[in-house]
């Protein structure tokens, strides 16, 4: 008599195949054995989320609650900026986040200039928007005015 239950063999074989593919889906060369810097390091959303996450987390102690800010990409991309606005709402609670773009449509520039802080994800802007508070490879954080 087989030590295996005949009727359970089919689901077992199927689950073995699925488990093997699960193992193969792990990011062995993409940071499986490194501590992730953000929750999105090896995800499908890494292209849009990782750099923004890095900059916004560093902005947290620099931008006080209640302050207004805009987060934007450099070079500017309204589609990306729409996401950055949403990330800022999540990662910088209690601040007033002015979207650089919403649903892919750029906001009136005058509204952006009225914010106290500007967070730039990407390369350093050619025209400094204010006083540089922080520069990291993923972006820069600026304070407008004196």
């Amino acid at each position: 008599m087989s030590r295996f239950d005949r009727r359970a063999l089919l689901p077992l074989a199927g689950s073995a195949v699925l488990a093997a593919f699960s193992v193969a889906a792990l990011p062995f060369s993409g940071g499986l054995f490194r501590a992730a810097r953000t929750p999105y390091d090896a995800s499908d959303s890494a292209y849009i989320a990782v750099d923004a996450w890095m900059v916004l987390k560093r902005a947290e102690p620099l931008i006080p609650p209640g302050a207004s800010l805009v987060v934007r990409s450099e070079p500017a991309d309204p589609s990306t900026d729409s996401y950055f606005h949403r990330f800022a709402v999540a990662l910088l609670p209690d601040r007033r986040i002015v979207p650089a773009a919403r649903w892919g449509q750029p906001t009136e520039p005058i509204l952006l200039y009225e914010t106290e802080y500007e967070v730039v994800v990407g390369r350093r802007p050619e025209e400094p928007p204010g006083r540089l508070l922080l520069e990291i490879p993923e972006g820069t954080i600026w304070k407008r005015g004196p």
Binding site: M1, R7, S15, L18, F21, V23, A25, T38, Y40
Partner: protein, 452 residues
Amino acid sequence: MRGGHVWLATFALFPLVGAPLLKHPVFHRFGLVSRVVLAGGVGMAIVSWTMTVFALAGVRWGPTLLLVSVALAFALRLALSGASERVPFPRGRGEGQGEGRPATTVAALAIIAVSLLTALAATIAARSTSLDLVLFWGPKAQQFAAARTIDATFLSAPYIDYMHIYYPPLVTNVFALGAMVAGRFPWGAATLTFPLFLAATAFALPGILRNGARRPAAYGTTALVVSALSLLGIHASVAGNAEPFLFFFETLALALLLTPFARTVAGQFLAGLLLAGAAGAKVEALPFVGAAVVLFFVVLPAARRSPGPTLVRLLGPAALSLVPWFAFGASRKLFYGYYSYGRFLEIHWEHFGSVLSGLGTAFWNAGYALPVLVPLVVLLLTRGKTRRAILPLGVAVLLAGFFTFTYLHSATDPKVWIGWSAARIFSPLTVLFALAAHTAAQGEDGVEESSG
């Protein structure tokens, strides 16, 4: 202890809340491990309902809500005080009919362990995190925790129209409860709900399926379900999203409905509470709940003899779970129901080809369609399926039809929409096919026949 650890530890509160109900002797048949997890599911549904009622009444969340939740669980237990139904249970006679073949169970446990560890590794490596976590689940939970209520001011703020403010409240409530205790919302820990709920499903499912089948079959089906959800979850990026909650509630509820225990008052009531958890977790659980209940009446003639009470037990908790939520939305002038992506019944047949190809691409991208195809192949090759298979198969067909119908409402080409949503919302199909195949291990009445 770090905030993330504290946040995760709060999930231990839910089995404590649900314990008064699941301690009822009628549930002893599930075994201790399964009962603890089921108590967690019931506790979560009760706590979320209490939080929503508190928010509706304008009462801030605090320790009182847990006391009220426990009191509710005791009240539910009282409602079952007379329950002592006897239904066939195969464990006793199963000895010597396959129970003595531990190799099957050991192999299944090994595969379950690999699948769970893989889901955990993928989550820790930030491979499977859903963008929805940072877009709306996390921000809402974080804000609700800070406000100690469902914050209507936040939900009506300008520029957050992307947050799906009408989405049902269970996930944000559960996330917010942990954030209140931990003092902050830990984004990384929130992603761990994927392996956590997958593990909870793996621990609870064998105890439920054992009510209608022998141990090897119960563990074999559990291995298939868990491995399929693990692969799909990794590829479809469900970590931090509501899908892990849905996997958990929908899988356990439907598995329960397939057992002979579902003939009893207690069984139907427990299934109803799990369906309420699903309905509270995500919008797309509603068609699942509706289809499951309708098809339960189709496959179980006994249920049709007293349709009213059965309907109340199965659907009552889900309806009750949503009443305070919609009352909250309406009273704060936030929302008056669920919104759709297009005009109802304005179907764009010109997108039919695009929908089909989009679905094909989405499934292929989610593990080469294997999470759906493998359980489907197992189902097709399994002999001896019973009439009960109509229940999971019917739900699968109705869900697939409903979601396709929904996509056809899009005025613009829905391919992008399908690309980021289809693999996740069609995910119950993996479980449904596996459970349909499992009916072959049960007799026509849901109890395994003696052939071995």
